[in-house]
Assembly symmetry: C2
Homo-oligomer: 348 residues x 2
């Protein structure tokens, strides 16, 4: 279990790097001709975001290179064989990919808001949003292509980035397909979460290992750390949707249930014989009452489904942390472990 | 000027390679889980297409390696320093990128048909089409990442592919923006054509130069060959829209004029004082008459605008062909020159 100090430590680590990440985003993705396209491409990136994935990339680099957190110029970062790479470009590329996926997902899901502002297709139009996402997509590869260092390592990072993007598309396709499936299995849900959400954490942790020239076993361990932390994050997100008060969540508690979204919790409950479809009568978050949500959550608690999901998230986060034993024992490694804890125990 | 034998020679060269390109597309982009996503991703590729860009890649490789056309296994193709690369994967990657751009363009332009079949967003739905395009996008990078050979050369090819994709997005953004511009300049139009259409021909010719380890000057010459041939192709396409009978075109002759699409021809005519907006009264291709088109074409001919565009296309094709003088004098080089001729003198 994490403590308040773990959370504040992780948030401090993110804060310390955020302005440099933001500056680098601005440098690597300048507002250029044609202006409207780049304005739309930069719009969501400028609307905010924790920069969690690029932070993982930077801290993973520090853990691998065995340097103290925040001690080293990310633009000329030491590799394991004494060369230098621009680790910041890699971090930026991962955030740019994340932004691309959000823009296209918002079109597909017809979500009006993102990070408290209108989504890109809403602020501009669908064509511009498709094109802004496409521009970010190839820009991320352009940025990643020029980190310097050994070409073989850069090529490996490019290969990992491309396979990661393909998996994210597969995960989004499964997520859409699952909306019309009534016979979903927990393992199918976990596969979807791995592909849609977790692989980008995996890439965020494994790309620095590729660039720094780490052994294949270390690359794989870093990737699995990201995968398992990312899965834990998503499962815990489903738990928090039911257990955190609406005012803290910033949206209606239980909205997944109201909107018939399957999660590991509902899939477990179905297996326990709970009539999940009958838990909520209300057809929208506007008409649901807190009392109705309370009853539904109580039924899911009685079935052990919320504990099941919470324990699954904790087990995955622990697995992820254990992967890091391949790294030197240093402060940055501890910070990566704290990030895994933070992903499941964050205050919302 | 080309002759019938040039055209038939180019078509024969395309025919000779098409089934192998198609087999490789099927191998590198198999129908896999999740099936519906990959079915949608493969749908347009399976609907046909000349495979002109991958043919350019393969023939450019033959010209660079100085081997006889069609004499060498593309899967283990000789580089300039005696190693081997999988040139077919590079060719496939370029066709996959082309297919991605068509799928997303058809969504943006709301085009119902492509290659005689419903466009992907029409056959499936918009979300699936966005995702199918996104899947092809990263798949192309995955395919390009594993051509073998020198990592530095593969990385250079990846870098070229990514900057090419960014430029294609910029070109599409300009094309959309130009629809609401009444003060477009010919140079702006040429820039749009370069970005939207020509750079992918440039990459098709230059990627093999990168992979085979050619000098930077040769890479640049091949790229310019593709750019200039590709621009010539698009300008000639605008000419053919006015000069080829509707039954041969397979669509209404003069449709660009009816739909108020600016081309190099209309932009030249405007500069000559022609009232381009008044040339056609009809508001759609359904109501326009051949006589009205004839009169409009006559006015554009009188202004010298059609000859201007035709000569521009011919000059660009010639420039492109001249770039190939950096290559060894061989049969494949002649074929690349014939392809440039074919692009502007093809029967429709």
């Amino acid at each position: 279990m994490t403590t308040d100090s773990t959370e504040s430590r992780v948030l401090a680590a993110i804060d310390e790097r955020r302005s440099r990440i933001n500056d680098a985003l601005d440098e690597e993705l300048p507002l250029q001709h044609p202006e409207r396209l780049y304005e739309a491409s930069r719009y969501l990136l400028q609307a905010g975001g924790k920069r969690l994935r690029p932070t993982v990339t930077l801290v993973a680099g520090e853990a691998l290179a065995d340097v103290a957190p925040d001690s080293t110029d990310y633009r000329s970062f030491p590799t394991l064989n004494g060369a230098e790479v621009d680790l910041m470009r890699a971090a930026v590329a991962l955030e740019v990919i994340q932004s691309f996926t959000l823009i296209h997902d918002d079109i597909m899901d017809d979500d009006d808001l993102r990070r408290g502002v209108p989504s890109v297709h809403n602020e501009y139009d669908t064509s511009t949003a498709i094109l802004a996402g496409d521009t970010l997509y190839s820009s991320a590869f352009e940025i990643m292509a020029d980190t310097g260092g050994e070409p073989a390592n850069a090529l490996a990072a490019m290969r990992l980035l491309s396979s990661t993007c393909t998996k994210i598309c597969e995960g989004q396709a499964l997520d859409i397909a699952f909306e019309s499936r009534s016979d979903l299995l927990p393992d199918e849900y976990l596969e979807m979460v791995e592909l849609k959400t977790a692989v980008l954490y995996g890439a965020s942790a494994a790309v620095p290992a590729e660039l720094l020239g780490a052994d294949e076993a270390v690359v794989e361990a870093m990737y699995q750390y990201g995968i398992e932390s990312g899965q834990a994050f998503q499962i815990q997100d489903d738990v928090l949707d039911l257990t955190v008060p609406s005012e803290t969540l910033g949206k209606q508690r239980g909205s997944d249930l109201v909107e018939d979204k399957e999660t590991l919790i509902t899939l477990h409950a179905r297996q326990q014989g709970v009539d999940v479809d009958g838990l909520i009568e209300a057809k929208s978050v506007d008409e649901v009452t807190e009392a109705e949500i309370d009853d539904a959550v109580a039924a899911l608690e009685d079935a052990g489904s919320i504990d099941y999901a919470r324990e699954k998230a904790e087990a995955l986060a622990q697995q992820g942390k254990d992967r890091l034993d391949v790294l030197p024992d240093n402060e940055a490694r501890d910070l990566l472990k704290a990030i895994a804890d933070y992903l499941i125990d964050r205050g919302y």
